[in-house]
Symmetry: C2
Subunit: 210 residues, 2 copies
DNA sequence: CCTGCGGTCAATCTTTTGGTTGACCTAGCC
DNA sequence: GGCTAGGTCAACCAAAAGATTGACCGCAGG
């Protein structure tokens, strides 16, 4: 950790938002933005070169590696910088995945600017920063452990989410309608619901679908 | 319209993004940011006071008035400033509504910064700015005219999207199951689909649901 | 080798949905 | 007053979806 100022790398794909974050963090004398990246890949080489104290990253980074990937990669080594996730939208699943990947904190972009700056400083000190509302949801979520569907089941569910009927799904996937039903029964059981519509709703709130 | 520099008001609820946009626009000598607002209501009083050449607004503005509301309100008078919508996500419906409300342009936040600045300048000259991909979708969309569901129908559909069955919907809305079915038949007809799941899928892509 | 899991399929039965028709009431409009 | 649109409900029928049971195959792992 630096002596006086905290060095920060900002990872965010949208140029305008990236400028905003850099501007916000840069105007605080405790912080120093030493680099910025628009993709996950660039972020990793940048972190390697700059060895910042904190990495502030968005979750969605366009194509390629996402924020969770960046987090795990960055945190993989000892002496690694702290990672603070700063994102717009949030599903429970995103938050859990980010925290599991080693993020020190998770903030929404509509947070108060002062809170964001404060979170970066706290993260640099090794503290964990989760907004109370989010923290609550994370623990609530850890309890009901993530349903994990097989690849095929997700495929079926995605088709259902598009509004297809069982027969149509069977045709597009080249399997029998009976098989589609079998998969759906499994999906329903795993998601603890009893209709296709409810399955889609649940999958959405769990972040299993786009 | 000003003599030399174009005056701009920025409307965006997320402080960080707002800072980014202001910073981006402010560093171009052709532009001058004369005000910024975090809500639609503030935006209107600000526009009234500053009489800018261009208003750059997000579509989603947290609670209260949204970007479309701001657009129509701002454009309601003669000699009104041009409105440029700058947003993150986009459904076809959002774009169409914004354009219909009188927006001169519609850009995504992941656009190149130079393009954004250029769009503001173009908007000030009274030109229309739509990214080609979006423009294509708008026209494609104008063709199949927007289905309009009654308030009750939307209510029913929203319940369906949450995964509720007809019986549950009937109970929560204090009506009979027969009525729920009737509404759904109307919804299906209007959306040109033949199942609840397909209705939800269609409504989503049309932006009729959150 | 055997076990478990994922994927495939079939037959059967119950429940839910969707389609159709027709009806009544209310509110707003010409 | 007649007309239309939205909301309410009922009865009935057809189709789709869901539940249950049982079976076969291939493959990874103990």
């Amino acid at each position: 950790m630096s002596t006086s100022t905290v060095s920060v790398v900002v990872v965010e794909d949208h140029p305008v938002t990236r400028m905003g974050i850099v501007a916000l963090l840069g105007q605080d004398e405790r912080l120093s933005v030493v680099g910025q990246a628009g993709t996950g890949e660039d972020a990793l080489t940048l972190v390697e070169a700059e060895r910042p104290d904190v990495v502030v990253t968005d979750l969605r980074l366009g194509d390629g590696m996402d924020g969770v990937g960046v987090t795990s990669a960055v945190r993989a080594r000892r002496g690694a910088p702290a990672v603070l996730v700063l994102t717009t939208y949030d599903t429970d699943r995103d938050i859990v995945r980010a925290v599991e990947a080693g993020a020190a904190g998770y903030l929404l972009k509509d947070a108060d600017p002062a809170d964001i700056v404060g979170a970066v400083v706290a993260a640099a000190r090794g503290e964990s920063v989760l907004s109370p509302a989010l923290a609550q949801r994370v623990v609530a979520r850890m309890g009901r452990q993530q349903a994990d569907l097989s690849a095929r089941e997700v495929e079926i569910l995605a088709a259902v989410a598009q509004g297809l009927g069982n027969r149509e799904i069977a045709r597009t996937l080249f399997i029998s309608e009976a098989t589609v039903k079998t998969h759906l029964v499994h999906v329903f059981t795993k998601l603890d619901v009893d209709s296709r519509t409810a399955a889609v709703a649940r999958a959405r709130e769990d972040g299993l679908l786009g």
